[in-house]
């Protein structure tokens, strides 16, 4: 019984670390929309996710959509917010590529 209880705690901890409920689903759905080049639609779900809790992944993905839609000011804003939350390599790479890109 003790083992099962520990297992449940560990499992809920892992799933909790992966994403906050709601955010993950929005992010997954938005990913399919981004792949289909439906950036406005993806942005709708990503902004919804962003309103739930600050998440560096969501902010990065919002920045991507703004970049694709040509709004560089908003893209920069979200990249910087994401980097404030966590400085990981893919995020830094995205931001570096964004800055390097000459419109």
């Amino acid at each position: 019984m003790k083992e099962i209880f520990t297992l449940l705690i560990v499992f809920s901890f892992i799933t909790g670390c992966v994403s906050t409920p709601g955010i993950k689903e929005y992010n997954e759905y938005a990913f399919d929309l981004v792949k289909g080049e439906l950036y406005n639609e993806a942005l709708f779900y990503l902004l919804k996710a962003d309103s739930l809790a600050p998440d560096y992944r969501i902010k990065n993905n919002i920045a991507l959509c703004y970049e694709a839609l040509g709004d560089r000011t908003k893209a920069q804003e979200y990249y910087q917010e994401a980097l404030k939350l966590r400085e990981i390599k893919p995020l830094k790479d995205n931001y570096a590529d964004f800055r390097k890109d000459q419109p």
């Binding site: 083992e3 892992i14 990913f31 080049e37 990065n60 991507l64 694709a68």
Partner: protein, 241 residues
């Protein structure tokens, strides 16, 4: 109890692995719309002599004239003119000033008819082996003869060694477009192009090099003209999951 513990541990491991796989980041290609950087429609473009840096390679062509011919064939009905009433040295000096970020007295160019002034810098370079020799990846510039792919029975080492028989021609082209009416630089962009000549020892490097550089200048001119219309560009980014 011990067996159930092991099963629980396996399930936990499985969940952790699947969680890791589900949170994998993905590379995405974004199609971004780009607005025109300048409106060249039925305008007059004054092209200054190109500033060419070619430390190791001599071309028997007037690159400014070649570029002007290419730019003249545009879809915007833009008239391409060259400076009149000034010496080539003075025009080249003006071009250099533009490229250095300064704004010279454009009235000196007698440009009453012009709407835009274009200064171009071209750096022509070559290396004795291609960038392919740096790693095992395919180089997109390998499109001349073998398309970047190894031969059927070629080992990676042989493939790599083959790159030392190649020459890599590179063009770094910078375009600075100045709008005379708004007194602003509307374009300041640098692009790099590369073409690889395979088995150069068996070929005439001079004529092949000239051909490569002219092809790349053609591409650069076409890219410059494309910046003046609405267009789609492809961006590679990482989607975080």
């Amino acid at each position: 109890m011990r067996i159930s513990g092991k099963i629980s541990l396996s399930i936990l491991l499985l969940f952790s692995l699947s969680a890791c796989l589900l949170t994998r980041d993905e590379n995405v290609r974004l199609r971004a719309r780009r607005e025109p950087l300048a409106d060249l429609t039925r305008k007059t473009l004054l092209v200054l002599p190109s500033v060419v840096h070619s430390p190791d390679f001599q071309l028997n062509r007037d690159l400014t004239q070649y570029l002007n011919t290419l730019l003249n064939e545009n879809e915007y009905g833009t008239a391409v003119i060259t400076p009149a009433g000034v010496t080539e040295a003075a025009a080249r000096e003006t071009a250099t000033l533009f490229l250095d970020g300064k704004t010279p007295d454009v009235e000196l160019l007698h440009n009453a008819l012009a709407d835009f002034i274009l200064s171009v810098q071209m750096d022509l370079l070559y290396e004795y082996y291609s960038t392919y020799s740096g790693d095992d990846g395919l180089n997109p510039a390998y499109s001349v003869e073998r398309g970047g792919a190894p031969g059927l029975y070629e080992t990676p080492t042989e493939w790599k060694n083959r790159s030392f028989d190649d020459l890599s021609f590179q063009l770094k082209a910078r375009f600075v477009l100045y709008d005379i009416h708004s007194k602003k630089r509307v374009i300041d962009k640098t692009e790099t192009y590369e073409l690889i000549l395979e088995d150069y020892r068996m070929k005439n490097v001079s004529s092949e090099g000239e051909r490569a550089f002219l092809t790349m200048i053609q591409q650069a001119s076409s890219d410059f003209l494309s910046w003046c219309r609405e267009r789609d560009v492809e961006l590679e980014r990482i989607y975080l999951k």
